[in-house]
Amino acid sequence: MIVVRVKKELIGPKGKFNLEVDFKVEKGEFLTIFGRSGSGKTTILRMIAGLEKPDEGYIEFDGKVYFDSSKKINIPPQKRNVGFVFQNYALFPNMTVFENVAFALDKKKKENIEKVEEVLKLVELYNLKDRYPSSLSGGQQQRVALARAIIKNPDILLLDEPLSALDYSIRIRLQDELKKIHKMFNLTTLLVSHDKPEVFKLSDRVIYLEDGKIRKVGTPREVFIGKSISGKFSFYGTVLDIRKSDTVKIVTVDINGNLVEVITTTEDLNIGDEVLVGAKAFNPIIKKIN
């Protein structure tokens, strides 16, 4: 189990604010920190990895204290057993795919070479092992970064918006892969994301972070849907277009790639808003498509 209780003053889009969080990650759990950019979620990951120092607080991994401001303990990142996947992947341009992954291990022992090959096969990169990162696609680079982060069996896998730069279809595939790897190794995973469908798909539990404070904690359903709507037929989407028609508005919403038009009278709706599209008064039908 991982215990995180930290405070740090940050500068966000609205000026200074205090990041102040207190949470635990259970072994094998897939926990997501959800929040808008600038809410401090990446900083939390960085503090857990030891890349940034909290102003005060306490971080513990399975009984080992990594940070304790009252006792002036601050274990450097090298000695914290974490796997970190950066938003820009951070692959070493001077090394091949194989070398990038092998970098995580000590010297070239024979069993290590086998281990690297095994992990590369797992993420379907074995055929590309002698290529340099610059010649790979975004999704392939992402898989190298993931392979490199998990090869040392970290106590926790930290994912900093790892899929945000990728195309929709690749993102879906990699989400499946992340889920597979998480299950396969029972790897405690902490994801930072601002993509609700992704959070729903992957996480056991979500922390909703706003202005540096935890607003809600729970399963994705509890956190995002709550009791605000009584019907069970609802989808998350993004507003693409708003047209005025007499007294109402016709809103075009993108729900996971499906475009729908909804009539509404809601006033404060803008293009780009995340919305919940739901219906309460009729029974939806489900039909299988071949």
């Binding site: 990895a49 030891g50 890349l51 450097p76 990142p77 090298q78 000695k79 914290r80 974490v82 796997g83 970190f84 950066f86 938003q87 820009n88 951070a90 070493f92 341009p93 001077n94 970098f103 995580a104 340099y132 610059s134 490199r148 040392k152």
Partner: protein, 227 residues
């Protein structure tokens, strides 16, 4: 024509290259940690150090040479120390012009290296740390291999600049045959003696070498960029 070329004494070139190679080597070893510090440290007085490093760019070589002469002569503190350990003063000796060249070419090594260190994406360094690698190992396995163009630029610029320096070497080294008389000074001497043939040959060779060195740098840099 060939006869003329054969009669010319080429030993100043040997001395010049010996000086340039030794200077560049020392500069690289001293420049790396200083550039690393300048690139990454948040030390409050860093600007003062940056200014000191860049000083040789703006100081007249004679000013630098004058101070160095004071320090390295028999009565200067470095010169005195040198005298005690090696039996001769620093000024007017090869070691003296090495020291002078190192100081004079300092920014030409440190500036490209600092820029190189800064060009490395911070997340590469952090990734290396989270993968358990020490700061030193990160420097040698991640940072330096990814700033090859900067290293190459630093080395070549220092080398070329040392070959071309005149004022500081003249002040500190004088013009002693086989000890401190480098090509640039030999050209000056030749002109003074109205030996234009020697001056022409020396100048042409120096011109060619300088152009060639820079050409190699730009060609190599282009290759690095492509990859």
């Amino acid at each position: 024509m060939l006869e003329v070329l054969k009669q010319i004494d080429y030993s100043p070139f040997l001395l010049t290259f010996k000086l340039a190679i030794i200077t560049t080597l020392f500069l690289f070893l001293i420049g790396l940690p200083i550039a690393y510090f300048l690139a990454y440290s948040k030390f409050r007085l860093k600007s003062a150090i940056e200014a000191a490093v860049a000083l040789p760019l703006v100081l007249p070589p004679s000013v630098l040479g004058f101070y160095l002469l004071l320090i390295t002569s028999k009565n200067g503190f470095l010169g005195k120390l040198w005298q005690e350990y090696f039996g001769h003063q620093l000024a007017f000796h090869f070691e003296g012009i090495v020291l002078a060249s190192i100081i004079f070419s300092f920014p030409f090594m440190v500036h490209p290296l600092t820029a190189g260190f800064r060009s490395i994406n911070k997340s590469l360094i952090e990734a290396s740390y989270t993968l358990g690698k020490s700061k030193l190992e990160t420097v040698f396995r991640v940072i330096l291999p990814n700033m090859k163009p900067a290293i190459l630029t630093g080395i070549t610029l220092s080398f070329a600049h040392t070959i071309g320096e005149f004022g500081v070497v003249l002040m500190v080294g004088g013009s002693i045959e086989g000890e401190t008389k480098v090509v640039s000074i030999a050209i000056y001497d030749a002109v003074e003696k109205i030996d234009y043939t020697t001056a022409h040959v020396y100048s042409a060779i120096l011109f060619g070498i300088s152009f060639f060195v820079l050409l190699v740098v730009y060609m190599l840099n282009k290759r690095f960029e492509v990859r």
